[in-house]
């Protein structure tokens, strides 16, 4: 047996299955970045598990040569929590979509985040139900015309990042399917974080909701429509790096740097350990009033769920000794019947 550590490559994480996403789907790019990042993380395929729910994105596990469970709609966080409690040493990824995580699985999603189970959750947000062929999703925008909303969506959409901060997630990030360098870097940071890492990826569904995120994807607009969050750096954006974000009372504003009236030091400096209220403000930045932040919103350390749960088990064994079943069955009041 060869005991030397194998150098892993992207191909080591490719399964033998034909990929059945529509040509041009944003999912391909996310899969490619994941396969590129996994070897860099250095965890071997057999220690890695992908767990998904239902939807286009949830076919993901079949396309990576790791362990995987394609579970049921919305429940991947619960399956993953059980697996991680049972096997804390495994590297567990949850792959989900906007309908899967925020609609049918909304309950599990918030409880996963607040418990801080040490796993990574990647939400492919395309603002549409793709696999059921084009109904509106909880992130569809008001007025959006879909098969189930011929007169336009009337619901107010959910904001995944706002929900994540509301549930006090310890790692919150956003990236864009077409921005492959950025996406790869964000996935890697998510993997490195201890605790639940939540990554929202803007993903284009070119069949049922084409161009939903074109402002954040197209070369012509993306520099003005997004702002890259960098820890410790001022929030500057724009093709010419001439616009910034400033804190004004309890809200944010876009300021012009070109005129020289506002200096860099006046801008909001991004802090991944900032007060949750500030993270919430960032999550509310919406195109076209604001550039939408991409990158790591929040990255804080907090004890993990499985560590606390396993810790109590260890503590119980330490304090009371390993359980003795015969002793337990015979505990309390007993009596003996002689022959």
């Amino acid at each position: 047996m060869n005991t030397a550590l194998k150098v892993l490559k992207a191909d080591d994480f490719a399964s033998d299955q034909d990929i059945r996403w529509c040509p041009g789907c944003g999912d391909y790019s996310i899969l490619a970045q994941m396969k590129k990042v996994l070897p860099e993380i250095g965890i071997p395929p057999e220690q890695t598990v992908f767990i998904s729910g239902i939807g286009c994105s949830s076919r993901f596990p079949y396309y990576v040569n790791t362990y995987g469970v394609h579970s049921i709609h919305g429940r991947a966080p619960a399956v993953a929590t059980g697996l991680k409690l049972a096997r804390p040493e495994l590297s567990v990824w949850v792959i989900t979509g906007d309908g899967d995580a925020l609609s049918i699985g909304g309950n599990h999603f918030i409880h996963l985040l607040r418990r801080n189970v040490d796993l990574n959750i990647v939400l492919f947000n395309n603002r549409i139900y793709g696999l059921t062929k084009g109904q509106y999703s909880p992130t569809s925008v008001e007025g959006q015309i879909t098969k189930s909303t011929p007169m336009g969506v009337v619901d107010h959409p959910l904001n995944p990042i706002s929900i994540a901060i509301g549930a006090e997630a310890t790692f919150i990030a956003r990236s864009v399917d077409s921005n492959i360098k950025h996406l790869g870097a964000v996935l890697k940071r998510a993997a490195e974080h201890r605790g639940t890492s939540f990554v929202e990826v803007y993903q284009n569904c070119n069949v049922f909701n084409d161009g939903a995120f074109s402002y954040a994807q197209d070369k012509a607009t993306r520099d003005d429509a997004t702002v890259e969050l960098e820890h410790g750096k001022p929030m500057i954006f724009g093709k010419n790096k001439d616009k910034g974000i400033r804190l004004k009372g309890f809200s944010l504003e876009v300021v012009d740097l070109a005129e020289g009236k506002v200096k860099e030091d006046d801008l909001l400096f991004h802090d991944e350990q900032a007060d949750p209220a500030l993270v919430y403000l960032l999550s509310r930045m919406r195109h076209p009033e604001f550039p939408e932040p991409i990158g790591v919103f929040r990255n804080v350390e907090h004890g993990t769920f499985e560590q606390a749960v396993r810790g109590q088990i260890d503590q119980a064994v330490e304090q009371r000794g390993r359980g003795d079943l015969q002793k337990l069955l015979s505990s309390g009041d007993t009596w003996t019947v002689k022959v």
Binding site: P45, E46, Y62, A78, L83, L85, H111, L329, S330, D333
Partner: protein
């Protein structure tokens, strides 16, 4: 510590073979506690016991009202008993509402002990009564003992300086003392309980409760109205060391035993629901057994987390009651498709919907048989008594691991909260439940095949972390062998048959059906689940009366034992008593084309032996 205070007046003792007592009061009066103590004490004296706690769903229902009445019935005897008794030798009623809602079950000439202090105008009004039932001429049918329990308790504990409320709370111990004297029950175990429960910082309360208990005993000894006490000799149980055990407790302990026998850590995912929650409470205490209890955000997460743990190689278990099982249905289908071992335990209660949360029923049988989408059979086992819960979950886990599928265990509220003497098993004699996880790739020509099967059609339980065995499982239809997604028509038909055959194969691992009584004759009583004790007793009585009747009690509801059809054919008639509208009857009729007769009761209460004997008598000679 001596519990038998020297007595000035020695009263005569009447020896009886068994006694049925019901204790009734407000849901805050401590009737359940009183009943449990009387049960435990009787078991320790060597009596056989069976209990029936009956309480409202509300924690503190409106005081003094009929809806708020909480009761505990216990039969203790010098012979084997399998039911808590049909009618009462004695009724202890703490208020008018409790009296009027329970009096009908008291035998003519039975002993009726009431707390006289709580029959005032306001108490009668709360019970919606215009006149005191104690003044009713029908009282002549009973031996009525009116006791000023509130006043006597207050006087007895006056030395401790308790508040009126605290002193009043001791009166159930006064009642207990009186009952203990009446039936010659030793007070030791209850005194140990009192001092254990109220130890830290509450020694005054403990002392007051002891005083109230002893005062009740002394009262019985003293008053002239009670001319004699009773004695019930120990029952002749098989040799061994016994304890008193409740159904949910036995179930929790059975899970620990199953985990140990299979060398697995127990992962228990659950969401609070009556009457299953006590299993969660019990297991949460045993983290030192390596048990991981996970109180999930909902029923669905509870079962899904258990599936995740099973996928990781642990013993995944989830428990609930009917409404929660309905929520878990889709995930049970997933586990069936993943072909992972899992225990799903349904402690049934009255339905549908929220139904009767604290009452018993057997109406989830068809739900667990058929309540999933697609062709999705699963093995179903049903416990028959509190102690049996210990065995049955181990048997279910053996099946789950041998066949690689979820197994359903049915219990019910009557079993869960009921108690019986239980012979403590020798753990060292419990055989291992063999479980293995493959380490080698089973496919020389390519990637590991997660759905390559053994002779029982079980697939290998390969777990994450094992090199070279990476594979994907999912709820979508898969190709046999490889587990790859497949929409091929022939493959789907094949997989549906394989999954059905796996369940059918369970019969190969289980014993055949046994029958108590004649091998053929007029009538076979076919029962399942918690009605075991009542059916057994009724058939025995009918047999003693010379009727041609036998009893078969089903433990395995899916698949049925392989010899069941042949047994059914040997009797002229088959009677199926159930606490539902005839669910087993529907299964038996469709499977065996036997025109079984139903006896169906849907009142949230167990069968009485009397009504069963009457029904048997209609069909057997």
């Amino acid at each position: 510590m001596s519990t038998q205070a020297p007595s000035a007046i020695e009263k005569p003792v009447e020896h009886v073979s068994g006694i049925t007592v019901r204790l009734v009061g407000d849901s805050g009066d401590g009737m359940q506690l009183l009943g449990q103590q009387l049960t435990n004490t009787s078991a320790l004296l060597g009596n056989d016991v069976a209990t029936f706690p009956d309480f409202p769903a509300e924690i503190r229902a409106p005081r003094g009202t009929r809806a708020g009445v909480s009761g505990f019935q216990v039969q203790f005897a010098s012979h084997e008993v399998h039911t808590p008794g049909d009618t009462l030798d004695a009724l202890v009623a703490m208020n008018p509402a409790a009296l009027v809602t329970n009096l009908a079950d008291l035998n003519k000439g039975g002993l009726l002990i009431v707390n006289d202090d709580s029959f005032e105008e306001k108490d009668l009004k709360l019970a919606k009564l215009n006149t005191s039932p104690l003044e009713d001429p029908s009282m002549e049918n009973y031996r009525l003992i009116k006791v000023s329990m509130t006043r006597l308790t207050k006087e007895a504990v006056s030395e401790f300086g308790l508040s009126t409320k605290e002193a009043d709370r001791c009166k159930n111990f006064f009642a207990m003392g009186l009952v203990y004297w009446l039936y010659g029950r030793n007070m030791d175990a209850t005194l140990r309980f009192i001092h254990g429960k109220f130890s830290a910082g509450k020694s005054t309360i403990a002392a007051a409760n002891e005083k109230a208990l002893r005062a009740g005993w002394a009262y019985g000894e003293t008053i002239e109205a009670l001319g004699h006490s009773y004695s019930v000799q120990p029952a002749k149980l098989t040799a061994g060391t016994y304890r008193n055990i409740m159904g949910n407790q036995a179930l929790a302990w059975g899970l620990l035993a199953a985990a140990q026998r299979s060398g697995k850590e127990l992962f228990y995912g659950s969401y609070p629901i009556t009457p299953a929650s006590d299993i969660l409470h019990e297991l949460a205490r045993y983290k030192n057994f390596g048990v991981c209890t996970f109180q999930a955000e909902d029923e669905i997460a509870a079962v899904c987390a258990a599936i995740g743990a099973s996928y990781g190689g642990q013993m995944g278990v989830t428990t609930s009651s009917g409404p929660g099982i309905a929520l878990k249905a889709e995930a049970m289908g997933l586990a069936l498709m993943l072909e992972l071992p899992l225990l799903v335990i349904d402690v049934q209660r009255g339905g549908p919907s929220t139904g009767l949360p604290t009452k018993t029923e057997q109406a989830d049988l068809l739900q667990v048989m058929f309540g999933r989408n697609g062709e999705s059979p699963l093995p179903v086992l049903a416990a028959r008594s509190p102690g049996d819960c210990f065995e049955i979950v181990q048997e279910a886990w053996m099946l789950a691991t041998q066949l690689m599928l979820p197994v359903i265990v049915l219990s019910d509220g009557y079993i869960a909260n009921g108690a019986e003497p239980w012979k403590i098993p020798d753990v060292s004699k419990l055989a291992p439940i063999p479980v293995s996880h493959p380490q080698e790739n089973n496919n020389p020509d390519g990637p590991f095949k997660p759905y390559l099967r053994n002779e029982l059609l079980a697939r290998p339980w390969a777990i994450p972390g094992t090199p070279e065995l990476m594979h994907r499982v999912g709820g979508i239809e898969k190709e046999d062998g490889t587990g790859n997604i497949s929409y091929d028509p022939e493959n789907h038909q094949k997989m549906v048959h394989i999954r059905a055959q796996k369940v059918a194969n369970a019969a190969k691992l289980l014993p055949p059906q046994s029958v108590e009584g004649p091998a053929s004759g007029d009538l076979l009583v076919l029962s399942w689940g918690g009605t075991y004790g009542a059916c057994l007793t009724a058939v025995q009585q009918a047999q003693s009366a010379g009727l041609s009747v036998a009893h078969a009690h089903l433990r395995y509801l899916n698949p049925f034992p392989s010899n069941l059809g042949e047994i059914l054919a040997r009797y002229k008639k088959v009677l199926i008593p159930e606490l539902n509208m005839g669910q087993l009857r529907m299964l038996v009729r469709s499977r065996y084309l036997v025109d079984a007769i139903g006896f169906n009761k849907i009142k949230g209460k167990p069968f009485t032996v009397t009504e069963l004997v009457e029904k048997i008598s209609e069909h057997a000679r």
